[in-house]
Symmetry: C2
Subunit: 238 residues, 2 copies
Amino acid sequence: MAYELYYWSGIQGRGEFVRLALEESAADYLDKGRQPDCDGALLDFLARRDLAQPPFAAPFLKDGDVVIGQTSAILLYLGDRHQLAPKDEAMRIWTHQIQLTIADLVAEAHDVHHPLGANLYYEEQKPEALRRAKYFREERIPQFLAWFETILARNPSGEAHLVGAAVTYADLSLFQVVEGLAYAFPRRMKRALADAPSVAALHQAVARRPRIRAYLESSRRLAFNEQGIFRHYPELDG
Amino acid sequence: MAYELYYWSGIQGRGEFVRLALEESAADYLDKGRQPDCDGALLDFLARRDLAQPPFAAPFLKDGDVVIGQTSAILLYLGDRHQLAPKDEAMRIWTHQIQLTIADLVAEAHDVHHPLGANLYYEEQKPEALRRAKYFREERIPQFLAWFETILARNPSGEAHLVGAAVTYADLSLFQVVEGLAYAFPRRMKRALADAPSVAALHQAVARRPRIRAYLESSRRLAFNEQGIFRHYPELDG
């Protein structure tokens, strides 16, 4: 049975991390976020009273009777099924640890434009966003990229991958977060990636993987925009 | 060999979620965060160049040669080893999904007093904290508690536990986040827990578990304070 991926229409968002894993796996999946009236269908699904394990939020993946929410949990699940994570337990949890750290970076990237909360528009919290953006650009982006650079350099199997000698969902997610940050903060990321050449190389290598490239060139890949997590507000870059 | 838990001295913080799992398991562990000069030792450990898998941040758990960072990843690891998670795969990942949602709530609870970033003191971002606190109190706490209440009510094994018929690390973490929120927002949580009786009952039941109670009554349990994640600033409550 095909997987069903539920996510909001119109944005890449956190759903995109799941899409990349599904695309790289050539998994059979239905992207419910690309169907007509999908946002209503998503809310209807979450409101179902017969669901023993209702996710708190989207994205969530339906695999037959199993429904899994939380991006990192979905990737843990898909990683085992589609050889996107090592089987060895210590390496498997290391992959997950990296994913959770990427998830922290994604949350911070979102909070740059919404420091006071998701209930207000960006325009209602712009002075606060300017202050938070400075900290994110100048301290957090370098800290995170330096860590990725370090763990690539220390991978005993070589710096082509974050874990082991083959692609994992963590590689795909690092591609996506670099892609998103480069969209949102092009000036800063140009300099930051110059200091993180292995991260930059991995980002490019993932983009060249045949299935990922085919996906990125397809109409299934939405463009980044200012409704998503990674938003290009020039005043926040620098 | 005993586990070694690395975390910052003086606060419960994210390390406390790991401590509760270790205490409930009666696991043999050395709490490095309670040793002299532990903050320096933590930084020295993270700076080690011989570490193939250096965590991005504390807490992290050392189990022989394995070093695991990210609270939720540590709990995934401990859950398997100490019967704090079901063996069945779908139930195991459901437990993890709940944990990841609790982790999101913990991050939001922190950001209430630090909406502009961890680089500034609370006193430097107080007007912004007041605005964010309103959203957190009035919208986010009820949303999260309602979700916990729902999944307790729908647990086919009964509402004494979040997952199945036995304690999991998710139960322990829910206890801790309720405890922390009740410290930080006593007025709001009194009302919120009245609307979430199953959550309140689980919180009390975990506190009464013999090993947890012994831990909470020991000097090993630090008090909450205004350096941690959950801070009691009366002006943010209401």
